[in-house]
Symmetry: C2
Subunit: 196 residues, 2 copies
């Protein structure tokens, strides 16, 4: 191999990738109870961003828990490792120039703080989907609260595992007050205000 | 939350993401010894693709071993888990519509077969960077072979850990024959022939 070529600096960096895409890459980190509406809001937000010509990706239980994190359960240690890997992958997507949306319960304050540090505070937007536990349990779209109450599922957030609400989220969405369109518009307005 | 909106199918799928980007997403999987030239070729290939308006991402030791896989070492089991995670992340990038290049030794046939299965055979291009071990050891750009020979590094591929060459790679690059530009052009020609 031609050694003159070998040692030329030919790397494409994050700024080059983002400029190709004409957007400011960011991770929009949704947190809240199971059944709070994270996936619904994440999907609608992604659609709204794609309609605006943005390049997006959605990380959620469907494409992470069955793949990258399929060796992990729901103990505190495994939840921490799950969130660590999601944060590392979100960092790679931000580095690739994309707007990445994550939809995980991510119940622990220290794990979300770690995600913010891994991704970088400038590229991290925390969105608290603040649906009360009683309402999530009433909806119970997947029947999981029923199973957790009857002991069929262990370590279920809100039942026998803690949820630590964000103290100072970028955005707080109360799905009892805001409908889906309002929720998406509030997140879009926040991103615009931050110049994203 | 308005229940009519909640249950509308609003997901953005892989085809929609790829069409936004106007390209066929694929994983270009480089395999070969340490010092074979994988990172050099990967960087030059990424630059060539970006110059052609493609949206790319490069996964290599620099951005994966220090982040997502920093809990892993170089035992056979840890190498397997490393390649599993890289394959899962490459799958996510392909799902996001990107052309992702991976540059890892990935010494074991069964792990590369697993990667092909995870990513999907249609989106998997195996590139064997076939630089002979003697030449890699002669170059030794990071001084790793020297350390491995003196026992300072264990489980080093080619010294005290096996490398199983691909039996039927999509492309084979011999860096003793092909210079860097030729290598990149051969990969680009192969991608074009496969309609990527």
């Amino acid at each position: 191999m031609n050694s003159n070529l070998v040692f030329q600096p030919v790397a494409v960096d994050s700024a080059a990738r983002a400029s190709v895409k004409g957007q400011k890459p960011v991770a929009i980190w949704l947190t809240g109870f199971s059944g709070a509406g994270k996936s619904t809001i994440a999907n609608a937000l992604e659609l709204a961003l794609v309609e605006r010509g943005r390049h997006t990706y959605l990380l959620d239980g469907d494409n992470v828990r069955m793949g990258l994190c399929r060796d992990l359960g729901f103990s505190d240690a495994d939840r921490e490792e799950n969130i660590r890997r999601v944060a590392e992958v979100a960092r790679l997507f931000v580095d690739a120039g994309l707007i990445v949306i994550t939809a995980f319960i991510s119940p622990f304050q220290r794990d979300r703080a770690m995600a913010r540090e891994v991704i970088g505070a400038d590229a991290f937007v925390e969105v608290f989907i603040d649906t009360p536990l009683t309402e999530c349990e009433r909806r119970d779209p997947k029947g999981l609260y029923g199973k957790a109450r009857s002991g069929l599922i262990r370590n279920f957030t809100g039942i026998d595992s803690a949820y630590e609400p964000p103290e100072n989220p970028g955005i707080r969405i109360d799905t009892l007050e805001d409908d889906l369109l309002t929720a998406v518009q509030r997140i879009l307005a926040y991103l615009e205000k931050r110049g994203i």
